[in-house]
């Protein structure tokens, strides 16, 4: 069965599961777009600065769409959801909140392009797998949003895959740096597939497919790249830093929230 907004509002268990899933989707995109915006002006070349910025805007736009769907389900004002929720309420995967590298975006940003490429590529592929699944979601507004997101995601994936393949196969320092970044990413990759404690409910209501299915499809999608680049992919991925879906987060998230909410928190009641 397909649920419209009115149907979801009449079924509390369904609504709760949908809200939980939407928080995961919104928070994932929001924090990664924020990390992308910190890169502005610091990318390896000007052309990349323009392209990366465009991707971060798309991603921020997707977050805004998901927060809007949450708003319709009675979760609150989109700007408040994005700017004012404490870290313990955030549902993003920890891999996405990690800093871009040493320093801050204002002072001595010694950012790591290898980590940026690996994180964005792995995430874009995971998001692609999820979005494909969400196109068949029982929640109609989410299925419609997935179709829109999917069109832009095609380019994100292509972009990051190109960077990934070029740098992994470059040899020397580039390959070593990419391997180090992959090790970090694999160590927390499972956080991307986790659906949290309401995962079983989400699957039961046909909101999205199971974690196992999503993970399997990710591995499948990556396998030609892994084979052609001779990448050492672990059998099992980790969640070393904890599960963000449960509200567990690193101090990196708190400092990001302090920055991104600085003006908003100056006067949350004001119109900006």
């Amino acid at each position: 069965m397909r649920y419209a907004l009115e149907d979801a509002m009449k079924n509390e268990a369904y609504r709760d599961a949908a809200v939980e899933l939407l928080f995961q989707l919104a928070d994932d995109d929001f924090i990664l777009a924020y990390r992308g915006s910190e890169w502005l002006g610091l990318a390896p070349h000007i052309e990349e600065d323009v392209a990366f910025s465009s991707i971060s805007q798309d991603t921020m736009g997707h977050a805004a769409m998901f927060y809007q769907l949450l708003h319709e389900l009675g979760a609150g004002d989109p700007d408040e959801l994005a700017h004012a929720r404490p870290a313990s309420d955030r549902k993003n995967a920890i891999l996405l909140e990690k800093v871009n590298g040493p320093g801050t975006y204002l002072t001595e940003p010694h950012y790591d392009w290898a980590f940026a490429v690996v994180r964005n590529y792995f995430y874009a592929q995971a998001k692609k797998v999820k979005i494909e699944s969400l196109k068949n979601s029982s929640y109609q507004p989410l299925a419609e949003a997935a179709v829109k997101v999917n069109m832009e995601l095609y380019y994100h994936l292509l972009h990051w895959k190109t960077w990934f393949s070029q740098l992994v196969s470059a040899g020397g320092e580039a390959t070593t740096r990419m391997e180090t970044a992959m090790e970090t990413a694999f160590g927390d990759l499972d956080g991307l597939f986790s659906l949290g404690q309401k995962g079983a409910e989400m699957v039961k209501h046909n909101l999205i497919e199971s974690e196992d299915d999503l993970r399997k499809r990710w591995v499948q999608a990556m396998s030609p790249v892994v084979a052609s680049l001779d990448i050492n992919m672990p059998e099992k991925f980790g969640m070393k830093s904890g599960n963000g879906r449960d509200g567990v987060h690193s101090s990196d998230l708190q400092s990001a929230l302090d920055t991104l909410g600085e003006v908003y928190n100056f006067d949350p009641a004001a119109s900006w």
Binding site: Y34, S37, E38, L40, G41, L42, A43, P44, H45, I46, E47, D49, V50, S53, S54, S56, Q57, M60, G61, A63, A64, Y67, P78, D79, A82, H83, Y105, L106, T107, E108, P109, H110, Y111, W113, Q166, L167, S169, A170, G171, G172, E173, A174, R177, T259, L260, E262, V263, Y264, F266, D267, A270, S271, W272
Partner: protein
């Protein structure tokens, strides 16, 4: 038109005459056309400064991108700063073609920036302390840029004129984006109103300086005569500054803001705005990279350059 075979046989003087006749007739000079060395050098200097200013100009606003106070503002300012980087890229492409016969490339432009040989616009050496500054940059700095760039839309050098057409179209959106931020603040709380008054007080002198000195007597040199002679621009610095006043002073006042210059008034007799001159010796210092944020922002470019060197090396090894 002279046919190309006989053109090669002309003396330098005849080629120059032919070139002047072309630009006088409103023809566009293209990258591969003959041009006097002086014209080429003037363009390289002007457009590389413009291009690198777009790129350095992204940095003060970039400080506010992650902090923008709503989802809508975050999207707006991300798009705006991306446009500025895009303009930088477009302009550097134009300069690259002009530099090619001299055996120079984009690498030289970046090196010249880092060494201090290539200057960037005075406004981008200033601090952007508040969200109000982020709005003011979009509104008045981009507003000022529209005025100077519109003045060159018909530039005799075709590739620059075409790049400017696209840039100006986008700058109009930027000015609207900035104005929307300022309007929200102007209609907001007392603190928000105070925020924009503070911004305008701090940015006023930099905005006056934006158009450059009235003539060479203030700073020693001025390229405006050369650029006018070569039909790259039409109006003088002072004419542009006056256009800016005419367009923006009424708007500033209508928002209930005060001008930080009490002497400022429109003199009916001369048809000119009378105002307190900024400290031009300070201007000279600022563009020599001794402004409040010059070193910090150059440091950001330097870090980006050195941190990503392995990426560029990896890409060029593959090419």
């Amino acid at each position: 038109m002279v046919n190309p075979i006989s053109f090669d046989q002309l003396t330098e003087e005849e080629k120059y005459q032919h070139f002047i006749e072309r630009i006088e007739a409103g023809e566009k000079i293209e990258a591969d056309d003959w041009m006097p060395a002086d014209y080429r050098m003037t363009l390289i200097k002007l457009i590389s400064m413009h291009g690198i200013s777009e790129i350095m100009g992204a940095l003060p606003e970039k400080e506010w991108v992650p902090k923008a106070p709503s989802l809508r503002r975050k999207l707006g300012i991300m798009a705006k700063v991306q446009d500025e980087m895009g303009h930088g890229q477009l302009l550097l492409r134009v300069v690259e073609d002009l530099m090619k016969p001299l055996g120079k490339s984009r690498e030289n432009i970046i090196q010249d920036l880092l060494s201090g040989d290539l200057k960037f616009h005075n406004v981008f050496h200033m601090e952007a302390k508040t969200w109000g500054d982020a709005g003011l940059i979009g509104w008045l700095v981009d507003g000022a840029a529209i005025i100077t760039q519109t003045n060159m839309l018909d530039a005799s050098y075709g590739p620059y004129a075409r790049a400017l057409k696209r840039i100006c179209a986008e700058e109009v959106f930027h000015a609207q984006h900035g104005e929307a931020i300022i309007m929200a603040l102007a209609e907001g709380t007392d603190e928000q109103k105070a925020m924009i008054q503070d911004s305008i007080n701090r940015w006023w002198e930099a905005l006056l300086m934006f158009f450059g000195p009235g003539d060479a007597s203030t700073t020693g040199t001025s390229k405006q005569d050369t650029t006018i002679k070569y039909k790259i621009r039409t109006k003088t610095n002072e004419e542009l500054r006056q256009d800016f006043f005419t367009k923006y002073i009424p708007r500033v006042l209508s928002l209930g803001l005060k001008l930080p210059d009490e002497t400022m008034h429109f003199d009916q007799e001369s048809g000119m705005w009378q105002y307190q001159q900024p400290d031009w010796s300070k201007f000279k210092q600022i563009i020599k990279n001794n402004g409040p944020k010059s070193k910090d922002r150059l440091r950001l470019r330097e870090i980006s350059y050195s941190n990503n060197k392995w990426v560029i090396d990896a890409l060029s090894a593959k090419a």
